[in-house]
């Protein structure tokens, strides 16, 4: 299961198609993930950015069906290496979880079972997914801890999570996630709960591991700075749908969706012009249960037209993998095309 690197560079690893997911709340289904589609290639880091409740975690956790009990997947496909994970029985899915697809979580303080040593937890994963002997598992565990930058792994392996600092716990968490050389690592806001200096260390570690093992990463965050640092491609999510997607350059320099624009204007720029004001996005995300056939961002959008409140915009492709879900952009593109047609 070890990736060999360059030869698989462009191969598609994960393809999510029209994923629809709702939450059952008091017998009503509230749509939470709405027609999410994207692809992830081997060795690529895909960033998913959005505010709290935008569905970024849910849509990623849906890949390994790690969902709250009241979540209902209503449609779509999640093709992992060609196999639809949504159709896979739970028993078989468990062989994928932790072995081919691993996940690390936001809060390393609460995400490791406090009553078991780090060594136990590493051994547990290795025992479940590999045929290594006891001695080999122990050797591998120590090797993993060393790999993620934990000093004196021989000693640390017998310690409990509470004996680790936050950053070290996240490293230990990453070690358990990488134990079986996964092809895909889902990192659900792995640095949000950490100090800024530790944050940078964890990001560097993930980048290093990506280079070394060629693992694909889905990196969920609401921190655009972190995103710019680590990701190749970016999905911008809002109210359960992808409003804009593209490579890093397209999103940061050539974004078209008003929401993406708002997000980028609301981050402070340390090196830039001090007089440039921070512009917050006015208003709040919509109540999902009240959302009809309209653009979810319409109420907060400075460019909203009548059409936006009446009909949900389609996903428009701008070429080179850049997509935007916005009527304004849709019309602009149509006009361009019209002009091109008139020219010929």
């Amino acid at each position: 299961m070890i990736n060999t690197g360059e030869t698989t560079e462009k191969e598609t690893l994960l393809e999510v198609k029209d994923l629809k997911l709702s939450f059952r709340i008091q017998k009503k289904l509230v749509p939470t993930i709405r027609d999410v589609s994207y692809t992830l290639r081997r060795g690529e880091v895909l960033g998913i950015v959005g505010e709290s409740g935008s569905g970024k975690s849910i849509s990623s956790n849906a890949i390994i069906r790690l969902l709250p009990e009241n979540a209902v997947i209503e449609g779509g496909q999640i093709l992992f290496d060609g196999q639809d994970l949504l159709k896979l029985p739970l028993r078989d899915l468990r062989k994928v979880r932790g072995r081919r697809i691993s996940e690390i979580f936001q809060d390393p303080m609460t995400s490791l079972d406090p009553l078991f040593t780090i060594g136990y937890q590493l051994n547990e994963v290795l025992k479940k997914h590999t045929s290594l002997s006891r001695e080999e598992r122990e050797k591998r565990s120590i090797e993993l801890l060393r790999m993620v930058g934990i000093n004196q792994p021989e000693r640390r392996i017998d310690q409990y999570p509470h004996e680790f600092s936050g950053g070290m716990r996240q490293r230990a968490m990453i070690a358990t996630a990488l134990a079986c050389d996964p092809e895909l690592l889902i990192a659900d806001e792995p640095t949000t709960a950490l100090d800024v200096t530790i944050q940078a260390q964890i990001i560097d570690l993930l980048k290093e591991l990506k280079e070394k093992f060629h693992t694909s990463i889905i990196f969920i965050t609401h921190d655009l700075g972190v995103m710019a640092d680590i990701c190749d491609r970016v999905l911008v999510m809002y109210a359960g749908e992808i409003v804009e997607s593209g490579d890093k350059r397209q999103i940061f320099n050539n974004h078209r969706h008003p929401y993406t624009e708002g997000l980028l204007r609301s981050i402070p720029d340390v090196d830039g012009d001090e007089k440039k004001p921070l512009v917050p996005i006015e208003g709040n995300p919509p109540e999902m249960s009240l959302l009809g056939d309209e653009c979810a961002f319409a109420r907060r959008c400075p460019y909203a037209m009548n059409l936006c409140a009446r009909k949900r915009p389609p996903e428009a492709s701008l070429g080179d993998g850049h997509t935007v879900r916005c009527w304004k952009v849709f019309h602009e593109e149509q006009a361009k095309e019209g002009m091109r047609d008139a020219d010929t």
């Binding site: 390994i64 790690l66 979880r97 932790g98 979580f105 079972d113 406090p114 009553l115 479940k128 997914h129």
Partner: protein
């Protein structure tokens, strides 16, 4: 080594608590009006002789000092009233043995029934099984022991004639054990349910599932171990109280256990017996709590014994 020092420290602290309990009980007991010999059909003169014989005419502080001195030498005195002349230590050990025989069985039953049912209720929250278990536990917790004892006696012994009424006959143990076990069983059900429900929402279980662990492992290894902590807290005092016998179960079924003496010794003003039973009970609770504290550490590495 550090562990040993901590235990030693706790034992010393326990001795201080025990001393406080002895002192408070001794003076409280003497505040109760009357004396051990008020029911004796004797003249004022003989009563005075008896009181003088046991030194009860001396100032309280002298009596207290003498009691402590004797206790320190392992002498708890002899009973004044209930088993006149017998050594308190003999009475306590004999009756405690009876209570332990019943108590251990009740305790084991409570754990074996209460904890698994509580787990089931927690795991199937909101389902029929949960509802049934919650109703049963609510009834079990709220029904007073003497009502339960009387009802059992009426139904099982008098009407159905399935079991003997009194303790001495074969099968006589069954009803006292039931009476002893019902409350802790139901309490354990509720405690386990609440505890497991809290643990089920924890992030680390999600992590375990993300690692591909099966539900069996997630629930029975990770969730259960984490939910044991509050249960252990309860088990300490529970063990002590159940082993020393319920007053009700032992009184109603005429079991010659320690529990009976709790009540009887006080109403008879049998001073030495009151003290003996209290000291023994206090020492037992303190020991059980100490064992619990040590057990905690075994289960939860985060807990440092103070």
């Amino acid at each position: 080594m550090a562990m040993f020092e901590k235990i030693l420290k706790r034992v010393l602290l326990a001795a201080v608590s025990l001393f406080a309990i002895i002192t408070i009980t001794f003076f409280l007991m003497n505040i109760i009006p009357g004396d051990p010999f008020m029911s004796e059909k004797a003249t004022e003169e003989t009563r005075a002789i008896l009181i003088a014989k046991y030194g009860l005419d001396k100032p309280l502080i002298v009596q207290y000092g003498r009691y402590l001195q004797n206790l320190f030498h392992g002498d708890m005195g002899t009973s004044y009233v209930l088993q006149k002349g017998r050594a308190i230590s003999t009475i306590v050990t004999e009756s405690f043995a009876v209570s332990v025989r019943l108590g251990l069985k009740a305790l084991i039953a409570a754990i074996l029934i209460g904890v698994p049912l509580g787990c089931i209720a927690g795991l199937f929250k909101g389902k029929a099984a949960d509802g049934a278990i919650r109703v049963i536990s609510a009834i079990g917790i709220s029904i007073p022991g003497y009502v339960l004892a009387a009802v059992l006696m009426l139904v099982l012994a008098v009407n159905l004639k399935a079991l003997p009424v009194s303790y001495g006959k074969p099968g006589g143990e069954v009803m006292p054990i039931i009476v002893l076990a019902v409350y802790p069983t139901c309490y354990l059900m509720r405690l386990t349910r609440a505890s497991i429900l809290e643990v089920l929402g924890q992030d680390y279980l999600k992590t375990e599932r993300a690692r591909g662990m099966g539900e069996g492992r997630v629930i029975f290894i990770h969730a259960l171990k984490n939910s044991l902590i509050p249960i252990i807290t309860y088990l300490g005092p529970l063990t002590a109280s159940i082993l020393t016998g319920g007053f009700v179960a032992e009184s109603v079924f005429n079991v010659p256990g320690l529990g009976r003496y709790f009540v009887n010794a006080i109403s008879a003003r049998d001073y030495t017996l009151i003290m003996g039973v209290t000291v023994f009970y206090a020492a037992l609770i303190i020991t059980m709590n100490l064992i619990c504290d040590i057990l905690y550490q075994v289960v939860d590495p985060r807990i440092q014994m103070a």
